[in-house]
Amino acid sequence: MARRLVLGLLLSVLIIAALFAAVSWRTEIAPVEPAPRTAFDAALVARGASLAAIGDCTACHTPPGGKAYAGGYPLKTPFGTIYGTNITPDPETGIGRWPQTAFVRAMREGVDRQGRHLYPAFPYNHFTLASDEDLQALYAFFMTREPVRTEEPPNELRFPFNIRMLLAGWKMLFFDEQRFRPDPAQSAEWNRGAYLSLGLGHCGACHTPRNALGAEKNKQFFAGGEAEGWHAPALNGSSPAPVPWTAESLLRYLRHGASDTHDVAVGPMALIVHSMANVPEQEVRAIATYVASLMEANPERQQRAEQALARARGAPPDPQAEKGARQASQDKVDIGAVVYSSTCAGCHAQTRRPPGAPSSDALHLALSTSVTAPTPRNLIRVIVQGMSPPDGEPGPLMPGFAAILTDDQLAALVTYVRAAYSGQPAWNDVEREVREARKL
C-alpha cells in the first residue's frame, strides 16, 4: 500500500514536472551570419541610439569603466547579483548572430535566442510595450556597435532563484505580453510620453514597489520603490515633492539633473539624466508631460507647496513644522541644529536655486524631496557620501560627511532637518538607516 502511494506520488511529480517543462519550453531561433554594419540605414541607427538612451541600456550593460554594452555590470537584487549581458554584435559572446526576430522576442517575451528564459532584472515587462518600428531601430543600433569579445561573469543567485526554468512560472503569475494601447482621450504628446515611460523608459522598474518575488505591484503603480539601495520617490498622487512637479520643471530636471525647486538627481537617477542628454528634447518633453500629469497639483498639495516655499524664504516655522519637531526628541533637534548651522547652512541657506547657479548655491532643504520622503534613506546617503560628478563632467558637488560626523551626530542632524523643514512627522528609523548607510 505504502509502496503504491509513493509510486503514485512520484508519478504525479514527474507528470507535473513534464507538463511544466512543456509549458516553459521555448524553441531556439537559428543563428544567422552577422550582417555588415553598412546593411543598416543611418537614420534608423540614429533613432535606435535615442531609444537606447531613453531606456538607459548602458546602465546595466556597460561595466564600470568598460567598453560600451559589453556586459558585466553587477546588478544587485534581493535575490543575488545578476550581471548585465554582452549586447554588442560580437558573434561568439554578444548578440552578433541574433536575427531581428530573436532580438524582438527577447525584448517582448524575455527569452534569449537559444530559447532560455531571461531574468526580469531585464525589464521585458516594460519593453514588451515597444512598437515594431522602435524595436527595429534598436536592433539596427546595437548591430552597428563595436563588437567586443568578452563574457560576463555567471550570475550569483541564491537557490531556488538560480533555476532558470522557474521563470516560466514567474511569467505566468506576473507577466503579460502586450503592446502599448494609446488613450484616445489624451494628446499625442501625452501618449508618446506614456509609451516611452511605461515601455522602453521602464520608469516603474524603480518607481513602483515590488513584491516578495520581485514583480512590480501594479496596484501601487509609481507609488515609490527602490533602486540599488536608494529610495525612488513616488511619481503618482503621493509624490512627496514639496513643490509639485510640472511638465516644465520635470523637463528641466530630466535634461539638466536639477530644477530650481527640487533636489538634484543623484544615484541611479543621475545616470539616467546623463543618458537623457542624448535624447531629442521633444521625446523628453513627452515623458515630462506624461509623468507630471500623474502628479497633478491639487489644492492641498498647493497649500503644502506654499508652506514649503515660505519656509525656504525664512518664514517662521508653521504649526505643522512645530508638531514635527515636538515628535522628535528635543535633545537631538538641538544637537542637530548645531551641526546644521556649521556643516550645511553655508550652502543650503539659499532661498531659491536659480537655473545655472554654481553648485555652492544648493537647494534650500524645505524644498527637498529627500527631506519630505517617507524614508530618511536618501538624505542620509547623500550626507554620508556627498555627491561628485563623474571625472571631467560638470555636475553638483557636495562633500561627504562620513569622516566628520559620528553616527549619533548624523542621526541628530537628520532628525533636526526633518523637524525644521519638512512639516512632516519625525522618521522613526533614522538610527537603522544611518547604520545601513555606513556599510555602503
Binding site: 551641526v339 553655508g346 561628485s388 569622516a403 559620528t406
Partner: protein, 161 residues
C-alpha cells in the same frame, strides 16, 4: 568649554559649539597651516585629519570633536625635522604658491597611513577632493608616490618609526 585633542595635545576651547574647527585652529590655537579656501568643503585647502581620516575643517563643527583626535600639518614634522610627506613635497618642489599644499599633505598622509603602497590610480582617486589652482598636480602626485617610498624606507631601517 570643549576639549580638543590636536596633535596629541588637549586644549580647552571656549567657543560656540557650531564654530568650524578651521577657525579654532587658526584663531585660538595659532595653528595656521590649514588654510581657508572656499569655506564650503569644495577645495580642500583646509584639510586636516580626524581619527586618521581626511576632513574639511571649514565644515567640521567643534561640537563634533569631543573625544576625537585631530592632526594638522604642524603634527607631521617641523622645519628642522620634516616628516616623510613634507620631505617628499619639498624634494619634488610640489608647491607653487603653496596655499593648497598643507591640505594636500594632510590628505596624502591619511592615504599613506591607511594604505602604505597605493597605486597611481588609488593616489589620483584619493587626492581628487583637493584642488590646486596653480596646476602643480603632476608634481603633487609624484610627491605622494615619493612619500610612500620614504615611509617604506624608514620602516625598513632598524630604528625606523
Amino acid at each position: 568649554m570643549i576639549k580638543l585633542d590636536v596633535n596629541g595635545k588637549v586644549h580647552e576651547i571656549d567657543a560656540d559649539p557650531a564654530t568650524p574647527l578651521l577657525y579654532v585652529l587658526r584663531d585660538h590655537l595659532q595653528l595656521n597651516g590649514a588654510k581657508f579656501g572656499c569655506g564650503l568643503g569644495q577645495c580642500g585647502s583646509c584639510t586636516v585629519m580626524l581619527d586618521g581620516r581626511p576632513v574639511f575643517s571649514c565644515i567640521t563643527p567643534i561640537a563634533a570633536l569631543q573625544g576625537r583626535r585631530v592632526k594638522t600639518i604642524e603634527g607631521l614634522g617641523t622645519v628642522e625635522n620634516p616628516g616623510p610627506v613634507q620631505r617628499a613635497f619639498i624634494e619634488e618642489q610640489a608647491a607653487q604658491c603653496g596655499y593648497c599644499i598643507p591640505g594636500m599633505m594632510m590628505r596624502a598622509q591619511a592615504l599613506l597611513e591607511a594604505n602604505p603602497a597605493p597605486s597611481k590610480a588609488e593616489i589620483r582617486r584619493h587626492m581628487n577632493a583637493n584642488l590646486c589652482r596653480c596646476g602643480t598636480h603632476m608634481r603633487i602626485l609624484r610627491a605622494v608616490e615619493r612619500a610612500a617610498g620614504l615611509m617604506k624606507a624608514s620602516r625598513g631601517r632598524p630604528n625606523g618609526g
